[in-house]
């Protein structure tokens, strides 16, 4: 019955606000009252909107910049709990806003599907995600020069974690090293060269066998099961979202990496935008700084508005600026001026920095409105 009243405000008010009003109003509220509430909310909403000509960019920059000067080199630790070292604080913020291709500590937060997230078999699930090589499953590798052969003493306990037998490991190695004869006994694998080989090659082969990939997800060098709320999640060092998503027990709707570019290529630019916001907010929260998300949203929007990730630096969004003078005033002025003169660029003096330079009123705030005269009157 009241749906149509709400309908009239669709488009005028954000859906989230309409939903909130719907929930907060008692079901018994009269038509008239709903109407009154909505119009009051609408008025309030208009009041909170930024006005045309407000310098939202600079306000966002100041709102983020000033508190971050107070960021401390203090992170919180829990005694006795093994932790992973993740970049945080100002270095991480710089990393995110610069949209760095390689970040210092790539990590994933792997959420698990319904039955698995209760914590049962968590260790073995985590173990299966960890990237392992042959080296991780043998207690020793010896090189017998007299035969010649390479003997692997298999650590069966370790192998049991991934439900493998010695035979399976032997076959796996044989697949990668087809020119060798691989034989498996109860707890040993012997590898003999097919044709006669010199010892030097054999030594190199031994090293290659050591590094042969066995199980898990590539790049994941560390796993750490953590309790997050009611469920268990797995934190990793090193990211490989694509492979993780293919695992059946992974909740792909919530699992996330902190690598902006990986998220962008796999989940799209909107996900990358959300990641910028989440990562920044996460750092600011741990530092106890309270910055309105909308400032960070503006930064994230700016970084992603072209559909591609762009850092806030001279190779990113600054390069996209229309004004030659604005670009020149940021970094490497000589390069920008010379290149602009080669193609004959024109600076329309439409933005702030250029107008400050030539000492003209900036087109913001009181400098924005112009006098318009209607001639026909």
């Amino acid at each position: 019955m009241s749906a149509d009243i709400f309908m009239t405000y669709e488009g005028k008010l954000p859906t989230s606000i309409i939903e909130e009003v719907k929930q907060l109003l008692p079901a018994s509220a009269s038509q008239k009252r709903i109407e009154n509430v909505l119009s009051a909310v609408y008025e309030e909403y208009l009041d909170t909107l930024e006005e045309a000509g407000d310098a939202v960019g600079i306000v966002a920059a100041e709102s983020i910049g000033e508190p971050s000067t107070q960021m401390v080199l203090r992170t919180f630790h829990f005694a006795g709990v093994s932790e992973m070292q993740v970049t945080s604080g100002l270095p991480r913020i710089i990393e995110v806003f610069d949209a760095r291709k390689t970040i210092q500590t790539p990590t994933m937060e792997i959420y698990l599907r319904e039955p698995y997230n209760a914590g049962k078999d968590l260790k073995s699930i985590a173990q299966r995600i960890l990237e392992t090589t042959v080296d991780d499953y043998v207690s020793s590798i010896s090189l017998d020069i007299s035969v010649p052969q390479i003997v692997l003493a298999v650590d069966k306990q370790a192998l049991a974690h991934i439900d493998w037998t010695v035979d399976m490991l032997a076959k796996h190695i044989n697949k990668k090293f087809k020119k060798f004869k691989v034989a498996a006994s109860d707890k040993e694998i012997t590898i003999k060269p097919g044709k006669e080989k010199n010892i030097d090659d054999l030594v190199k082969t031994r090293e290659r066998i050591k590094k042969t990939f066995v199980n898990g997800i590539k790049n994941v060098s560390q796993v750490l099961p953590v309790k997050r709320g009611d469920e268990f999640i797995i934190m990793t060092a090193g990211t490989n979202l694509k492979d993780v998503f293919e695992l059946e027990y992974v909740d792909t709707t919530r699992t996330i990496s902190n690598d902006l570019y990986e998220v962008e290529s796999l989940l799209g630019i909107e996900a990358a935008r959300q990641l910028i916001i989440d990562e920044t907010v996460k750092v600011l929260r741990t530092q106890g700084l309270n910055i309105d998300v909308r400032h960070i949203m503006l930064v994230a929007d700016t970084m992603t508005m072209t559909g591609e990730l762009q850092g806030i630096n001279r190779t990113g969004i600054v390069r996209e600026k229309a004004s030659v003078l604005a670009r020149a005033s940021f970094e490497t002025p000589f390069k920008h001026l010379v290149n602009a003169s080669l193609v004959g660029e024109t600076d329309e003096l439409n933005s702030v920095v250029e107008n400050v330079m030539v000492n003209q009123p900036i087109p913001l705030g009181t400098g924005l409105p112009r006098l318009v005269v209607r001639r026909d009157v």
Binding site: M357, V358, T366
Partner: protein, 600 residues
């Protein structure tokens, strides 16, 4: 076999390391080996390290044998009667110098009572764990270490009586305290360092009290009567130096009263203090702009014609005068020669500096502050016995900084003043707080150091009792008179036409990048423009070529640099810095073309 290294170079091996080291030590103590040779038997490496090189930091310690120091009461008596000296003790092996290497193998006791058979050395004085200036902080053992360091740092900036021959010297930025006093609360270091011969502060009466909010944020409220009686009064000296330089071609500067033909001649008024030799007379009261040393220099560039009439009128004025805001009395004139034999004139200007609002003072505990208010003596709160403090110190600087020694000095100073004796406050060895309080009680004062006080304005008694006592205060060399600065209009830089920078050049206060951003954030567009109008210029711009035009005065017309009269030229307002940038772009080979558009 133990390896032996001399100055980290392998020298050989010895069989019995312990004996070898012992032998070196004994020989050093009897004077056979230099006292600056240090040895260490490094057991983990099984090596003996011998150090002989220069530049090692060494420190003296008392030698301990069998749990006893070698220094006896007889030595001490002989030291007192001057029969023995420090070097004698070192020669006799009673005191020796250890470097960081030998210290590794030494067990040093802090106190004589702690000595055991294992100890090898004893600290001469516990105080020696800190340096000279830090040990000048009284009762330092009651403080956080950082505060002692800050207290020491502040003392270095104190105005005092730094050298008895100051009158014959000509130092930069020099202040001399009129009435320096020996601190009542002193330390051994004050005696050892001859502090009493060159003190740098005064003993004052202090009350720990708020006063009308004028001692917020570490500020001090000071009794005007005390200032008038000479508290903190100092003389400030600044030198003015000029020399007769020699130039190629036998030309020289001339220290003289410039004649009126000189280029850049100022005005007779500004030269009025100069005597016939071109230098001011002592005790002249000079102010901003007055010439102190008159000087003329030969012209910078000589044209062919000028060489024939050099001495006539082409000399330049290059006198030294007082800069903006400077004033004083000529104290001292020195005429001499420098190393190259050029005539050198040094003039010293003296200024009396009476403490004023904004001048900086400190106690010896890192409790520095500036004067917030000078109160007429009649309005200073007084105690029941009628004492009016010289300084009213705000209590809020104490809880967070925890400078307990500051409070103990107040009590100590009070006891010293009442008993007529000096109070020993040497680090770790000071008189006990308890004893001081008892002595204070024996004089009929409260042992807490607190007294009943009265508001001098209303006559009412304060509800709380106030801590009153004596302590040593020093004036610091930072005085507002040297820092006060403001500008509305003033000199500009030649290149950019923007205001100069810095107080000495009467410069402007820069509205920087971040300050600019705040204007932008507020949308105060026109205010921002006005702020940046300091280098505003109006230049003619040719609309056809986009280059800056010029005004041809003969034709009374605006001209284009490319098309001459054949173009529209309009005046455009811009910052001079931007005009300069356009010129720099042109010098780069870039053609910056300005396109004009109607403003409305």
């Amino acid at each position: 076999m133990t390896e032996v290294y001399i100055d980290h170079k392998y020298a050989g091996t010895v069989k019995n390391a312990e004996d070898f080291v012992e032998k070196i030590l004994t020989e050093r103590r009897i004077g056979k080996i230099s006292i600056h040779v240090n040895v260490l038997y490094e057991r983990d490496m099984d090596a003996i390290l011998i150090e002989t090189s220069t530049g090692r930091v060494v420190r003296p310690l008392l030698v301990v044998k069998e749990g006893k120091i070698l220094l006896t009461q007889r030595h001490v008596d002989q030291l007192h009667s001057k029969e023995l000296s420090w070097t004698d003790l070192v020669k006799q092996g009673i005191i020796e110098y250890l470097d960081s290497t030998e210290e590794e193998g030494a067990l040093v006791a802090f106190d004589e009572a702690d000595l055991t058979k294992q100890h090898t050395h004893l600290e001469i004085a516990p105080m020696s764990i800190v340096g000279l200036t830090t040990s000048l902080v009284p009762f330092g053992q009651h403080n956080h270490g950082v505060r002692n360091a800050q207290g020491a740092k502040n003392q270095k900036q104190a105005v005092g009586f730094y050298a008895a021959n100051f009158y014959n010297r000509n130092d930069m930025d020099l202040s001399i305290l009129y009435y320096p006093q020996i601190p009542i609360v002193h330390t051994i270091m004050h005696e050892l360092s001859d502090y009493n011969k060159h003190p740098s502060g005064q003993n004052v009466t202090i009350a720990v009290l708020s006063y009308e909010g004028y001692n917020m944020e570490d500020a001090l409220v000071i009794n005007k009567g005390s200032v008038q009686r000479g508290f903190g009064r100092s003389a400030y000296f600044r030198p003015v130096i000029s020399e007769e330089l020699r130039y190629s071609g036998g030309l020289t500067d001339n220290i003289t009263v410039p004649d009126k033909e000189t280029k850049g001649y100022r005005s007779e008024h500004e030269y009025r203090f100069l005597e016939d030799d071109g230098i001011v007379y002592p005790e002249a009261s000079v102010a901003e702009g007055d010439v102190v040393i008159g000087k003329t220099s030969p012209p910078r560039f000589l044209s062919a014609m000028d060489e024939y009439n050099l001495e006539t009128n082409s000399r330049r004025e290059s006198s030294v005068s007082l800069k903006h805001g400077e004033e004083g009395i000529i104290d001292f004139v020195l005429l001499t020669e420098n190393e190259e034999g050029n005539k050198l004139v040094q003039v010293r200007i003296r200024e009396s500096r009476i403490p004023e609002i904004g001048d900086k003072f400190t106690s010896r505990h890192g409790q520095k502050g500036v004067i917030g208010l000078l109160v007429p003596e009649a309005d200073i709160p007084f105690t029941a016995s009628g004492i009016r403090p010289d300084i009213i110190f705000g209590p809020h600087g104490l809880p967070s900084r925890m400078t307990v020694s500051h409070l103990i000095e107040i009590i100590g100073g009070k006891v010293g003043a009442l008993s007529g004796r000096f109070i020993d406050s040497t680090l770790f060895e000071s008189e006990k707080e308890e004893d001081l309080r008892k002595e204070l009680g024996s004089h009929g004062f409260s042992e807490s150091g607190q007294e009943t006080m009265f508001n001098a304005v209303s006559g009412e008694q304060y509800i709380a009792r106030v801590m009153v006592g004596n302590m040593y205060y020093m004036r610091l060399k930072h005085m507002v008179a040297n820092k006060l600065h403001s500008r509305a209009r003033g000199p500009i830089q030649l290149l950019t036409r923007q205001p100069t920078e810095g107080r000495a050049k009467e410069g402007g206060l820069r509205l920087g990048e971040m300050e600019k951003d705040t204007f932008v954030a507020h949308g105060a567009s026109l205010l921002l423009k006005e702020r940046f109008d300091s280098d505003r210029t109006v230049v003619p711009v040719c609309e056809r070529s986009g280059l800056l035009g010029y005004y041809d005065a003969r034709k009374r017309k605006l001209m284009s640099p490319v098309y001459g009269e054949d173009s529209e030229v309009s005046y455009v307002e811009m910052s001079y810095a931007f005009k300069l940038m356009l010129d720099e772009l042109k010098s780069l080979g870039i053609y910056p073309r300005i396109e004009l558009e109607g403003k409305y």
